[in-house]
Symmetry: C2
Subunit: 314 residues, 2 copies
Amino acid sequence: MTATEATPERPGFHRLTLIGIGLIGSSIARGARARGLADEIVISTRRPETLERARELGLGDVYTLDPLEAVAGADCVIVSVPVGSSGAVAEMIGPGLAAGAIVSDVGSVKADVVAQMAPHLPDHVHFVPAHPVAGTEHSGPDAGFAELFDNKWCILTPPPGTDPEAVARLSAFWRALGSKVETMTPEHHDMVLAITSHIPHLIAYNIVGTAADLETVTESEVIKFSAGGFRDFTRIAASDPTMWRDVFLHNRPAVLEMLGRFIEDLFVLQRAVRFGDGETLFRQFTETRAIRRGILDIGQDTAAPDFGRTPKKG
Amino acid sequence: MTATEATPERPGFHRLTLIGIGLIGSSIARGARARGLADEIVISTRRPETLERARELGLGDVYTLDPLEAVAGADCVIVSVPVGSSGAVAEMIGPGLAAGAIVSDVGSVKADVVAQMAPHLPDHVHFVPAHPVAGTEHSGPDAGFAELFDNKWCILTPPPGTDPEAVARLSAFWRALGSKVETMTPEHHDMVLAITSHIPHLIAYNIVGTAADLETVTESEVIKFSAGGFRDFTRIAASDPTMWRDVFLHNRPAVLEMLGRFIEDLFVLQRAVRFGDGETLFRQFTETRAIRRGILDIGQDTAAPDFGRTPKKG
Ligand SMILES: NC(=O)c1ccc[n+]([C@@H]2O[C@H](COP(=O)([O-])OP(=O)(O)OC[C@H]3O[C@@H](n4cnc5c(N)ncnc54)[C@H](OP(=O)(O)O)[C@@H]3O)[C@@H](O)[C@H]2O)c1
Ligand SMILES: NC(=O)c1ccc[n+]([C@@H]2O[C@H](COP(=O)([O-])OP(=O)(O)OC[C@H]3O[C@@H](n4cnc5c(N)ncnc54)[C@H](OP(=O)(O)O)[C@@H]3O)[C@@H](O)[C@H]2O)c1
């Protein structure tokens, strides 16, 4: 069976290989299984204990520590590892990829990942980089769930000249997993995500670090009285350090650009506080509401109080 | 009936007057009603339409636009208005307060509010400032709910020499509303809240403002792809602009102190990104996890994924 045999009525793949089986990889495995999107799921990861856990969880059909063995005969290979390891993984799997296979990833950074992976991929495969804009602060194979991508966007950044049919097949796969799909250039993706995800994580990590280092306020006070806003930042700052270190090391220009603007704007607010300029504060605090309304309007969040929230899936 | 007649077995008041009936005032009204903490609830607010809405919602027993009339005969008066209006409200109610009454507030800032209110309160009342560390981004009488304070802290900042029995009665009231109670100085409160609440709000407002002003990324892209972290900041930045302007104008020294540290620390991360210093990033991203664990350990948040969260109360 080759990649082109799938009919549009039944999105999915014959042999889907997942390299990396953490939060994202295992959510793809669960979603693909639940929705019948692969005849066979092959799972490969770096550490034996992670592979063993994936097997215990029954996430796939075939388990192997050998990435070359894993990709053999696959019509789709999705790499879900920290973006700093993308190049090394592409180098390992490159020689084993079947002709016509779709090769994709899920990395939170795109231009740098494309630059890392593309040189190692043979001409006879279709490289369609992807980034599902969905996640939680948890990691590892236990953290995933089939509904993670429901109603979330997945951004594809196919290089110019990519076979449109391969792009269409991967789009159909992500749609079947529950996502909405958009296509853009890797560079634009990296700017959009720098402001909507990378800077939010950087400042969340930063304020939690600032709080931890105070002499006037103890750590236990910070913990006790976290319900006033801080708590939500600690959740974001609980995300995997390796994944996020890699994001910042591999999306440097866009992160520095957006961070520069954030700091510039923060100085305006700092000055307004210092000089008691209530008008500037009020204006800034009002203008931000339009964006919130937009997010609620398109159903990317709920307006209900978050306090005492009970998650859909525990 | 006077303030001292309440027995410890039945925390509460004979006549509880609420000045200001927004998110916090109406949550107190609902909680007090639901748990039988007042024989009579008197509600007063500035605007006729808000008073009318409170009446429609059945939040109290007596409704009046006249604050002097509202406080007459009350053994407890709780002022729940933006902190910039605390002094003006204290001035209005001062002459009508009954001897032995407990006068309290719920303001997110304490030293400045104490300085505003104390001069207008007669010697025959007990002034026990309070701050329930609980809230949502919504405001107005419709936004409140009886469970808002459940398992959250309420901080009391009684001036030196305050009657311990008055402090005990107000503590018992907040405990009966579901809160845990702690006592500290207004100045310390303001430092703790600057880092756990005020700075988080300032930077949430700031990043949403930065995002709104970009040329390279459109507002609709920011909205669409907000699930990567940004969304949680927009929720915080949807909080009431008047309330938050007042917080920053009235907690200036503590906010500037904490903001200075936040920016200093951010420069360290910025430099690490610029020079590709993965070790510094990884170390910072790891150290923050202890605080998160502490918050989960004491039950101030849940570890479950927030995506698709279903609130306890809609
Ligand atoms: N977390 C999110 O919210 C989110 C959202 C969207 C996209 N992403 C992207 O998804 C990718 C995976 O993230 P995740 O959250 O699924 O991470 P995760 O739960 O930590 O899982 C990472 C997986 O990658 C493997 N791995 C780690 N280092 C590796 C290396 N040096 N070489 C080979 N394999 C390695 C791990 O294998 P072992 O356990 O066997 O070592 C594990 O299977 C990242 O590129 C991230 O940017 C994450
Ligand atoms: N929101 C939170 O998360 C939170 C948490 C803890 C503490 N607090 C503190 O609680 C207090 C009230 O906040 P809230 O969230 O309940 O606000 P809210 O929902 O906006 O309600 C504010 C109330 O104050 C009245 N008010 C507004 N301006 C006034 C003025 N100049 N003079 C007299 N009354 C005025 C309003 O009356 P009209 O509608 O009649 O004009 C309304 O009843 C603030 O001090 C805030 O710092 C808030």
